[in-house]
Amino acid sequence: MTDGSSTADGASTEAPSAGRSRPGGRVSSGFGRYLFKHVGGAAVSLLLVLFSSFFIFRLIAGDPIDQLTRERPVSPEERAAMRAELGLDQPMWQQFWDYITGTLTMDLGESFQYRRPIFDLIVERLPATLILSGTGMVLAVVLGFWIGTRAGWKQGTRFDKGHVATGLLLYSAPTFWLGMIIILVFARYLGLFPVNGMRSPSTPPDFWSQAADIGYHLVLPVLTYTAVVYAGYLMIMRSSLLDEIGSDYLTTARAKGLRDDEVRRKHAVPNALLPTVTLVFLALGGVVNGSIVTETVFSWPGLGSLFVQSIFYPDRPVLQALFVLFSSSTILAVLGAEILYWFIDPRIRRSG
């Protein structure tokens, strides 16, 4: 089935031990090839993202000087000086080359609105985004899986129907609107939580008070984010469990005398989890960009609100950098899912 010779030469650079006939060596050479294929694909995708961001923001968008100098008249000399400063007087291929090398060395240029290096801006705002969508995503995944498996296992019951209906309803609600309603009810009418922002200025500077304050501000945005996202996990988990439910191995497990609960936990769920892994990884990529709307509703000082704010300035270098960051994070997350698949799904190893 798997002949070592044909796989060995393709992957010789990754796995030097591949030529030897140890069984372990054969597996690693197959993995090397698989890895090479997918890493290569991801690298091409990333390059395409760089290409398209250059295309969108430098070629379609026109001259940034026009936008920068909207309100005031500028002399041709001033214009030329600005062009030279931004590197726009170079030939297009030179600009493209500078852009690619700049991005690869984390030199993302300077923001128009903050007059600061974009890299610093991103580093400064990343934690806020990670806290918000990281918490929201973990909650959504746990909730979606937990309810999804139980609903699928007891298909057609009141529990199942009720949860599917609730999930669909929340899934249909526009995130921004749900956020506004949540603010209206919990912050405005009931006054339980702050309206927006991440921390209050009056909080003492020690770690625990700060953490508590951020947690307090985090409740409503996380509620919004989770409410909209969890239904997707619920539906996928439910339907992949439904796919397994008629399988023979479950009948066998029951015939062995296992309790219903054990059959579900030990036999059905592990198999049903497989298709959901991709979804979780996609969501991991989404952690960086998934909360654009939520951050904007709650004025949360993360990357998403920076992105939206940059549209209207317009702060093109920031838009461009975030476009690349958001897109590459999803590409890398999908790559992660593909690599993980090698370890959890034996069928891939056989097909190569």
Partner: protein
């Protein structure tokens, strides 16, 4: 069922199509959620079409507004007024037209492009098929809201760019689906027969592959519309919609930029948002029911 005497291939074909349509309709009709969704959808579409009869367009004008600033619901304004005194009811009714129009048009464009690329990629294959598949994979991975925002930010705000941008971020799923289905249809014996009888690529694609792919496309289109409508409302709410038209998203954009939340103006927020929710829900219910009808994997009883 078609009676005696020689039947032309055309009438035979139509009789078969009618038959399979009736079968699908019966399968659809037996699903309660699908029927509820269909009724809901019909009601919304009728209201949207009748908006000009129910409410005069002059009520949308900012300068001719008759009400006070953010008045709560009253007899004259059943759903209250906005910040310049226009009726929220009138705005929501008219907004339905635009939200539906953009959602449907964007979906149609996405489906046409996706199906064309999918069928050709599956049928022709080779280098072209490989590149088309990789390209659609790439598009599928990109975060759609980010791409849409970036494109709208540089292309400018108008209805046609909104439609174009939404179509651009949603065609790739259809391509994948159609390509996969094309490959399975292609493996069936009757295509071999058609080829043996000298059918060209065009004939094979339009007469044999497309009719077999279309039902699945229809089901996936029904599920694309709600995401297009949600996308449009998010973009309009962010302020990236056409400034000259009223859609549900743009109403909510005005609501939040004029402080409707801090003014506790729930009547300004609820109607357009609930309208989006209902339309999306209706389309999802219909789409899920259609999927159950057309997706062979979910269709249990037939062999």
């Amino acid at each position: 069922m078609t009676t005696t005497t020689p039947v032309s291939p055309r009438s035979l074909r139509w009789a078969r199509r009618r038959q399979s349509f009736t079968r699908s309709w019966n399968a659809y009709r037996s699903q309660r959620t699908g029927m509820i969704g269909l009724f809901l959808l019909a009601a919304i579409v009728i209201l949207a079409l009748a908006a000009p009869i129910l409410v005069d367009e002059s009520q949308l004008s900012v300068t001719q507004a008759t009400g006070g600033r953010m008045e709560p619901p009253s007899a004259g304004f059943p759903l209250g007024t906005d910040e310049v005194g226009r009726s929220i009811l009138a705005l929501t009714l008219w907004g339905a037209r635009l939200s539906l129009l953009i959602g449907l048009t964007a979906t149609v464009v996405a489906i046409l492009v996706g199906t064309a690329i999918g069928v050709t990629a599956g049928h022709i294959g080779g280098w072209y098929g490989w590149i088309a598949l990789r390209f659609s994979d790439w598009f599928m991975v990109l975060p759609s809201l980010v791409v849409a925002i970036a494109l709208l930010a540089v292309l400018g705000r108008s209805m046609s760019t909104t439609i174009l941008v939404i179509a651009m971020v949603s065609w790739s799923g259809t391509t994948r689906l159609v390509r996969a289905q094309t490959l399975t249809v292609q493996a069936r014996p009757y295509l071999e027969r058609a080829k043996a009888l000298g059918a060209g690529h065009w004939h094979q694609m339009t007469k044999h592959i497309l009719p077999n792919v279309l039902p699945l496309v229809l089901a996936s289109a029904t599920l694309l519309v709600p995401s297009a409508i949600l996308m449009e409302s998010s973009l309009a709410w962010l302020g990236l919609g056409d400034p000259n038209v009223v859609s549900w998203g743009s109403i909510l954009n005005r609501a939040s930029s004029n402080g409707a939340v801090s003014a506790h103006a729930w009547w300004y927020l609820l109607p357009p948002g609930l309208a989006i929710l209902l339309v999306v829900l209706a389309f999802m219910m219909c789409g899920r029911a259609l999927e159950a009808v057309f997706n062979p994997r979910l269709r249990g009883e037939q062999s």
